[in-house]
Symmetry: C2
Subunit: 166 residues, 2 copies
DNA sequence: AGGGTCTACTACGTCATGTAGTTGTCTTGT
DNA sequence: ACAAGACAACTACATGACGTAGTAGACCCT
């Protein structure tokens, strides 16, 4: 998981990630290029090799992991959507100094919908519920070793491989 | 403020924005290409025209605004750092559905330092102080017309223009 | 043996960015 | 009055990321 720098997904890359995230429940071992092509390539009129190239690049960039399944590769997302998003958020805020961050957050919240504010409060409360050490205590003392592990996800079912593959 | 799509600043563009943000207090009318070059171009061995090209492109992309000052242009940041950051945060979260967003936020908070959590709580409290309508009320009813306007900023002083310019 | 499947390479177009030269005006110091 | 310097407007070129795809060659099943 090299978590590369100038990280930003292209449209096709994003579509691939979406698919991998959608199928990671039903296909823990990942899906093949063929499956990805059938699911998002055909409808866009893309060549099989296009998806192969993209997946290969994504694997080399560390966006996805892959393991052999016979001659073929099975791809899985290297990070969950939540992790990737969280990482992006941290990266965005990481560029700012403390006071700027607070100011930016205020701007952010001010532009948020009531629903979003609610979601944030809920997430904050949830964190405190799971990790009491993360609750308000005004002093920045924490060993930073406790962490939450989520549970939910969604599922779907792409068709199995063509001829062989395994 | 066209707020373009695939928005991501390059290294030089970011440096320019940083400078504009740093000097917007002391130079409300903006600074010239010359000044930008002197401040961040010389130390990098960049040609004057490089900064001119970059600033011109940034103006066309809506990242900066400019107004004539004699023959020259005076550039100012189109958005504050806070606004830009806030926008990026919204963009990042906007790609997710409600439940995914909540999950992503939990991940985000779980990876945040106590200081960051504190900053977030403070910003949240600040928002509620300034906009009671943004406080918890569980139902999503708001006319979305009240907003906060911040105040602080920093200042610095780049040297004035060369020959003429005005 | 042939058709279908896969990977590994190679390749090309496009767009964003960084970087800079050329041209042609103005302006100002001398 | 002029030359030197300042500026903008163009044009240009390199690089890297992405989208897109073709070819070659190995494999496998019928």
């Amino acid at each position: 998981m090299p978590t590369n720098p100038r990280n930003r997904l292209g449209d096709l890359e994003r579509a691939v990630m979406e698919l991998l995230w959608t199928t990671d429940r039903s296909h823990p071992d990942g899906i093949t290029v063929r499956e990805v092509h059938d699911r998002i390539g055909l409808e866009r009129g893309l060549a099989y090799t296009t998806l192969m190239t993209v997946l290969d690049r994504m694997a080399k960039k560390g966006l996805v992991n892959r393991q052999r399944d016979g001659r073929a590769w099975r791809y899985t997302a290297a990070s969950s959507r939540e992790e990737l998003t969280s990482e992006t958020l941290h990266h965005t805020l990481g560029e700012l100094a403390g006071d700027e961050r607070r100011s930016a957050l205020l701007h952010f919240l001010d532009e948020s919908t009531p629903q979003e504010l609610e979601e944030l409060r809920a997430a904050l409360a949830e964190l405190e519920r799971r990790r009491p050490d993360a609750a308000v205590d005004s002093d920045g003392s924490s060993d930073g070793s406790s962490h939450v592990s989520s549970g939910e996800s969604s599922g779907d079912t792409p068709s199995p491989v063509r001829h062989r593959v395994s």
